[in-house]
């Protein structure tokens, strides 16, 4: 069987097709050029505005009195900027970004001046508008802005987001409420149904004041929370605020079903009460995890305890590293154990 390919293409059709593709390509190139020109123009405008804002903010930052601040706002070039802010939302957005960035690096009168400017120009309205946005990153940024600008009267709106389904919004909201209200901001822990990541726990601790009164009942409530990450964070709080009075209740968490909580419980006991830690860890050696055993060996080494019972039980452990470390410590503490441990070398790992 033979296949024949009989295609007839008219010159007219060819011309039409070529013309179509030519026009399509020309349109595409034109669109790209227009887009590129617009992009470059926007970039230049942004650079120009950043430079103008930098001068403007510097003048505001260096003012010593309210009169000086008002004088800066009355300057003709600032007046023209204010006119622009009236209709140009992007220019206001950029100003808010620059203000927030500057505020993070400044303290004292300089920081107060920046906050005054944010309030006087009514920029909180822009942040609040973005807080209502459905886009997660717009919302998260607005929360950051409101917290940095200490808009404490908006705390209720931000607090609602501390248990948001979106992890980024949740994260920003939790940090914001703690930044704005300190220890009291942690009340979201009582209702938090989403996990609190390790990094988030560290970020929250960084926002908390070094010295603060935290109610025992609140801590105990969080330690009994159904959310395991809240329990873990509560244990971290015990270390942060040196709550020796609650150390007796921490030991029970070494048997917690969640591994992260168990690990944090060990760290909490080790940090708050090393003496109790050694005996508590020693009691859990027969059934304890590798982490507990390692922690026990580390503690033994740092404290140079003469109690060798726990070490003796570890010289026959299944983990080779633990076995070796236990033997090394025993040799150092009590040379009489040396012959007893010699045979252990032959135990298969």
């Amino acid at each position: 069987m033979q296949l024949y390919l009989d295609i007839h293409i008219s010159t007219e059709y060819l011309l039409e097709t070529s013309l179509f593709f030519l026009l399509f390509t020309a349109g595409l190139v034109l669109f790209m050029v227009i887009y590129l020109i617009g992009f470059i123009k926007r970039k230049r405008t942004k650079q120009h505005l950043q430079s103008v804002y930098s001068s403007f903010l510097t003048e505001i930052i260096l003012c010593d009195t309210k009169e000086e601040l008002l004088d800066v706002l009355e300057k003709p070039w600032v007046q023209s900027l204010r006119k622009r802010w009236f209709y140009d939302e992007d220019a206001r957005k950029l100003l808010i970004r620059e203000i927030v960035k500057a505020c993070k690096s400044l303290a004292g009168v300089a920081s107060d001046n920046i906050l005054w400017l944010y309030g006087t120009l009514g920029l909180q309205e822009d942040s609040l508008k973005r807080l209502r946005s459905k886009t997660w990153f717009v919302k998260a940024r607005s929360i950051q802005e409101l917290a940095e600008m200490r808009q404490n009267d908006q705390i209720t709106k931000i607090y609602r987001e501390t248990n948001s389904r979106n992890p980024y919004i949740r994260r920003e909201a939790q940090i914001a409420v703690v930044k704005m209200t300190g220890i009291d901001g942690l009340r979201f822990l009582s209702v938090l149904s989403h996990p609190l990541s390790q990094w988030q726990q560290i970020c929250l601790l960084a926002q908390l004041p070094d010295y603060a009164e935290i109610g025992t009942d609140r801590l105990e409530k969080w330690m009994k929370a159904p959310n395991h990450s809240v329990v873990e964070f509560a244990l971290r709080l015990l270390v942060h605020y040196q709550r020796y009075d609650l150390i007796s209740s921490v030991e029970a968490f070494m048997e917690h079903p969640n591994a992260a909580v168990r690990e944090q419980a060990v760290k909490t006991i080790v940090a708050l009460s090393p003496d109790t830690a050694l005996s508590a860890l020693g009691a859990r050696l027969p059934t304890g995890s590798v982490n507990i055993k390692r922690c026990y060996l580390d503690m033994h080494q740092s404290m140079l305890s003469t109690d060798t019972a726990g070490l003796s039980s570890l010289v026959q452990d299944g983990d080779e590293d633990i076995r070796t470390e236990a033997q090394r410590l025993l040799r150092r503490l009590s040379p009489v154990h040396m012959p007893a441990t010699e045979h252990v070398k032959t135990i298969p790992g």
Partner: protein, 118 residues
């Protein structure tokens, strides 16, 4: 009056420090990255260096290192962010004379600078 080299990548902060120091009567060489600061050390011969730690191209630590390798004893003030204690210690090991943690007040910086005035 001193000739002060300031290296800071944040434009608002750089301008604020520059204006504050000029207000105090100092001559200021303001640079926005570590590479320019390293180059300026060879040509500008400042009496004092104020440098941020985290900067593009070259870090503040490199600036401190280069200043302290020189024959002339130029004091260095390091600007650091919260939580950069280890880096500040590293800067002190390299010979930094003082440090200020962000957030800081420009007035505080002005006071610190005054300590190095002869």
């Amino acid at each position: 009056m001193m000739r002060i080299l300031v290296a800071e990548d944040e434009p608002v902060m750089l301008k604020t420090i520059e204006m504050r120091l000029r207000k105090d009567g100092h001559e200021v060489i303001a640079l926005s990255n570590g590479r320019d600061a390293l180059a300026a050390l060879d040509t500008e011969s400042p009496d004092l260096v104020i440098t941020d730690i985290m900067m593009p191209y070259s870090s503040g630590l490199e600036v401190v290192g280069k200043v302290k390798q020189g024959l002339k004893k130029i004091p260095v003030i390091v600007l650091s962010s919260m939580g950069q204690e280890n880096v500040v210690l590293e800067a002190f090991k390299l010979g930094a004379d003082d440090f200020i943690t962000k957030p800081f007040s420009p007035n505080e910086l002005s006071m610190r600078v005054r300590r190095f005035q002869v």
